[in-house]
């Protein structure tokens, strides 16, 4: 693997846009070895992106939890349910 030279290193070390992109990609898919190295270098020197990474993971977990544990359970209005029930019953009875 080609070693990144100094100016390239500097670019990586300061590019938070690229780093956060890699953080997001890494949560879902494999990133290349080179990208892993770039991200490591960046995170070693950037506590802001480390915070981003932690918060990003919590957001994912929270979104999943909100839906799957039914904590965000929404309820249909009783009126609407009654109408729906009636439509289903009518269809079944007409068969």
């Amino acid at each position: 693997m080609k070693k990144p030279d100094k100016t390239e290193l500097k670019k990586i070390a300061y590019n938070c846009k690229k780093a956060t992109y890699l953080i997001e990609k890494q949560q879902i898919a494999k990133i290349t070895l080179r990208e892993q190295l770039e991200l490591k270098i960046h995170l070693a020197g950037c506590s802001i992106c480390v915070t981003f990474m932690q918060q990003s993971a919590v957001i994912n977990q929270m979104a999943r939890k909100m839906f799957h544990t039914g904590k965000a359970d929404l309820k249909l209005e009783d009126d609407f349910k009654m109408q729906l029930q009636k439509r289903i019953d009518d269809q079944l009875d007409n068969k």
Partner: protein
């Protein structure tokens, strides 16, 4: 015939599974409604989708092969309807996808020259970095509100990936986004959500 014990049913796959349409509303209406609202981001439309799901299911009762639970079967029907909604919005999506490729939206968050965080959006520690934040109701409420503000395509991509855990291939195909646009959307959505959270947290 009564099918009270759905769990037992799911375990014993040899058992012929029965549908019980008269109980669909009481058993699954709220669940399906929640599923729909989170995906189409429109309560009125979600009402319609739940109704259409039940009516379409009634038409297909004879085709139910009992390979999955009633709930899974109904959810699959709804899911197809949600994807139809995504598709019908796809002309709007194409426009959105174009605009996210232009750099000017990114300059909100990052400096266009060096890619560094702009002051206004720079992440600060909020005390939600540990997973005990998951018990925080306030945090949950704000996240929900922030998700609702996302463009429709972004919310669809985010929900399909992080909640449904669909494969990237399927998402790209169903939502008609290229894989490079997919990653741009995944990235922008998160930067956006996080920033919204920070703005509303304090």
């Amino acid at each position: 015939m009564e099918t009270d014990d759905l769990e037992m049913e799911a375990i014993d796959i040899k058992d012929h599974k029965m549908l019980d349409p008269r109980r669909w509303v009481s058993r699954y209406a709220d669940y399906l409604y929640t599923y729909a609202v989170f995906r189409v981001n429109d309560q009125e439309l979600a009402h319609d989708l739940v109704q259409e799901t039940f009516l379409a299911a009634l038409q297909r009762v004879g085709k139910f092969e009992g390979r999955c639970t009633e709930k899974t079967w109904l959810t699959a029907i709804l899911k197809n309807k949600v994807i139809d909604v995504y598709r019908s919005r796809s002309t709007g999506f194409a426009k959105e996808a174009d605009t996210i490729c232009t750099e000017d939206t990114d300059t909100d968050f990052f400096d266009p020259d060096d890619g560094h965080w702009n002051d206004r959006h720079r992440p600060a520690r909020l005390g939600i970095e540990q997973s005990d934040a998951l018990e925080n109701k306030e945090f949950q409420k704000i996240l929900e509100a922030c998700m609702k503000k996302l463009p429709a395509l972004w919310l669809s991509v985010f929900t399909m990936k992080h909640i449904d855990e669909e494969s990237t291939d399927i998402i790209c195909r169903q939502l008609k986004v290229t894989s490079s646009n997919f990653w741009v959307i995944i990235h922008r959505t998160k930067v956006n959500l996080r920033s919204c959270l920070q703005k509303n947290w304090i």
